[in-house]
């Protein structure tokens, strides 16, 4: 039954070229409906970045690297149609473990291995950003033992993988309410984010203790502070101001995911990247997260390639 929800459209993928005005329009010129429509798209409707960008200024080493990456791309995937930013709701670890008669901790550990593989594949195939939903603000209500295990797992992963992040050029950003995390984890998070901030191969955003609604509310608070300080008038607030205040602005070029994958058959967003998913293509799969492998990822990316993204307009 749920298979009917997977999109297997024969439609061809089309790249949209839209101009968008990011700055608020001031002065005596009246804002037209087209202006409001342009603002609402913000940075989501940029033309798909051609990958790789082979300008003459590229160093030979980078060219060589890109040739290698192209060679690693599976034949069914076209580099120019890949999503730039993929988001994943890594759902199903506990159910995977329960189905095998294992404790939920085994599911989370298996889930970590899957994540590692996915980051590796994303880097190889040229996906520029990966956002993963590791721990939601609602997850704090889970049994204390499970929560403590997860916090320990996050700490161990960050400690052990720091060297790999530096070697592989992975830039790590952590979004969510870090004040709720154990102090040792908070300190480690700051250290990892700081040490990897100059890496350029791939951006990995990990959402820990995250809630989409709270993120938007926090952005509102930041904007309210600007209003209070006289830096901004309430009537001049635009969607771009809000986008800039969201935590995903750590990747200013493409803060909004092009593709969102949710595993384990659940069909909802569960308070993840609510603002950012306005035009995101959603892909749902029944596979539990620990079982999500290369073949499933290729299926998701192929499905994305076959979709026709219109952003509210007509494509003739």
């Amino acid at each position: 039954m749920l298979s009917s929800l997977h999109l297997n459209s024969p439609l061809n993928y089309a790249t949209l070229n839209c101009s968008s005005t990011l700055l608020p329009l001031r002065g005596s010129r009246r804002r037209t409906r087209r202006d409001v429509a342009n603002e609402s798209l913000g940075s989501t409707a940029r033309p798909a970045r051609r990958y790789p960008s082979l300008s003459a200024s590229l160093a030979p080493a980078r060219e060589e690297e890109e040739r290698k990456e192209k060679a690693l791309l599976p034949p069914s995937l076209r580099p120019e149609s890949l999503p730039r930013h993929v988001a994943v709701i890594m759902d199903g670890n506990s159910r995977w473990a329960k189905a095998r008669g294992l404790p939920s901790s085994a599911g989370h550990e298996a889930g970590y291995r899957t994540l590692k593989k996915m980051v590796e594949l994303s880097g190889q195939w040229g996906i520029r950003a990966l956002t993963v939903f590791a721990f939601s603000s609602e997850n704090w209500t889970r049994p204390k033992m499970e929560v403590d295990f997860l916090m320990t797992l996050f700490e161990n992963v960050l400690k052990e993988s720091l060297g790999e992040f530096l070697r592989e050029g992975i830039r790590v950003c952590i979004i969510g309410d870090s004040s709720e995390l154990p102090p040792s984890l908070q300190k480690l998070v700051k250290e990892v984010v700081d040490k990897t901030k100059n890496n350029t191969q791939i951006d990995v955003i990990v959402a820990i203790s995250y809630s989409g609604r709270k993120e938007i509310t926090q952005a509102c608070q930041n904007i309210a502070r600007k209003v209070k300080d006289g830096l901004l008038e309430p009537e001049d607030i635009t969607e771009s101001h809000i986008t800039e205040e969201l935590e995903t602005n750590c990747i200013p070029e493409f803060p909004n995911p092009d593709l969102l994958i949710r595993t384990s058959g659940e069909l909802r967003l569960s308070n993840f990247l609510l603002w950012q998913s306005a035009y995101t293509e959603l892909f749902f799969t029944n596979t539990y997260w620990p079982d999500f492998g290369e073949a499933d990822y290729i299926e998701a990316l192929t499905s994305f390639q076959n979709r026709q993204r219109r952003f509210g307009q007509r494509i003739n």
Partner: protein
């Protein structure tokens, strides 16, 4: 099908003939809905009415015809929902992004909207029959004057109805709605420095940072007096929200049946509800957890 014929006849001012088949069909429908209601029923269903143009193209008819048939589908779906006891129905009629379409198409959609809003308020329309309240959500100031006035008239005319609620999102995007809510919250909080009572109704809030909460934003959204959708159905098989109720659909069950909107029938609607009923226990548990956390 017979229900559609009834509606079409009502639309043209003719009472449907007392029709044995119509009565039998209505009776069977009621029995079917009674059986369906043995399981948990959604309180609020939202529809992204996608596929009108493709419908017209497939049948080699004028583009506007697809939208016209789409409206008929809307009235029949509303009728079925209200008969089933679904209290709130929300539809995504026209997005702010749609203003970027060709001016002729935008104009014809505006004309169609005005015509249909006026029809809804007619004596023997479905609104009068079910006594439902109509909301129009969105930046209504972006609409052309006749449409905006018709929408405001419809809202005023049905404001005191106590039946089901039909909310039509027109000149709407969710990011625009959230932005307007943030503007209102910020404007109010700025007033707070001059004596506005703070969020717990006590002394003036000197530090506005602690005062902007999730609840503050929610009460300034267009959807403030409406519960979150239980199900979001996007027809024509597309799997994205297209900037529709992003804040409100966090825990909604997302469905994307393949039929185009004008082809969406009672059978598809019943299937959607059965899918929802299957997943209901898990959804309810998640909602309780989310409430506890908030």
């Amino acid at each position: 099908m017979l229900a559609l014929i009834d509606l079409e006849m009502e639309k043209h001012g003719r009472k449907p003939e007392p029709n044995i088949f119509g009565s039998v069909w209505r009776f069977l429908r009621r029995c079917l809905f009674l059986v369906l209601a043995l399981g948990p029923m959604p309180n609020h269903i939202a529809f992204i009415m996608d596929g009108n143009r493709r419908y017209a193209k497939r049948r080699n008819v004028k583009e506007g015809t697809g939208h016209g048939v789409g409206f008929t589908t809307l009235t029949s779906v509303c009728q079925y929902c209200f008969e089933m006891g679904v209290k709130y129905v929300t539809v995504y009629a026209f997005s702010i992004d749609n203003f970027k379409r060709k001016p002729e198409e935008v104009q014809s959609l505006m004309d169609l909207m005005k015509e249909k809003i006026d029809e809804l308020l007619e004596e023997e329309s479905i609104v009068q029959k079910y006594g439902f309240r109509i909301n129009f959500w969105g930046s209504l100031d972006l609409l052309s004057e006749p449409v905006r006035l018709a929408a405001e008239k419809a809202m005023a005319h049905t404001a005191s109805n106590t039946g089901p609620v039909l909310s039509v999102c027109v000149a709407y995007t969710s990011t625009n709605e959230i932005m307007r809510a943030i503007k209102k919250s910020c404007a109010r909080k700025r007033l707070g420095t001059r004596g506005y009572a703070n969020c717990d109704g006590e002394s003036v809030c000197e530090d506005i940072d602690g005062c902007v909460t999730v609840a503050d934003l929610e009460e300034n959204l267009d959807t403030a007096d409406c519960p979150d959708p239980d199900i979001v159905i996007r027809t024509s098989g597309e799997t994205r929200l297209s900037n529709f109720l992003l804040w409100q659909t966090s825990l909604s069950h997302l469905q994307n049946p393949n039929p185009l909107w004008p082809e969406f029938s009672l059978r598809n609607l019943i299937w959607a509800i059965l899918e929802y009923q299957k997943i209901y226990p898990y959804l309810e548990a998640r909602r309780r957890l989310a409430k506890k956390e908030n």
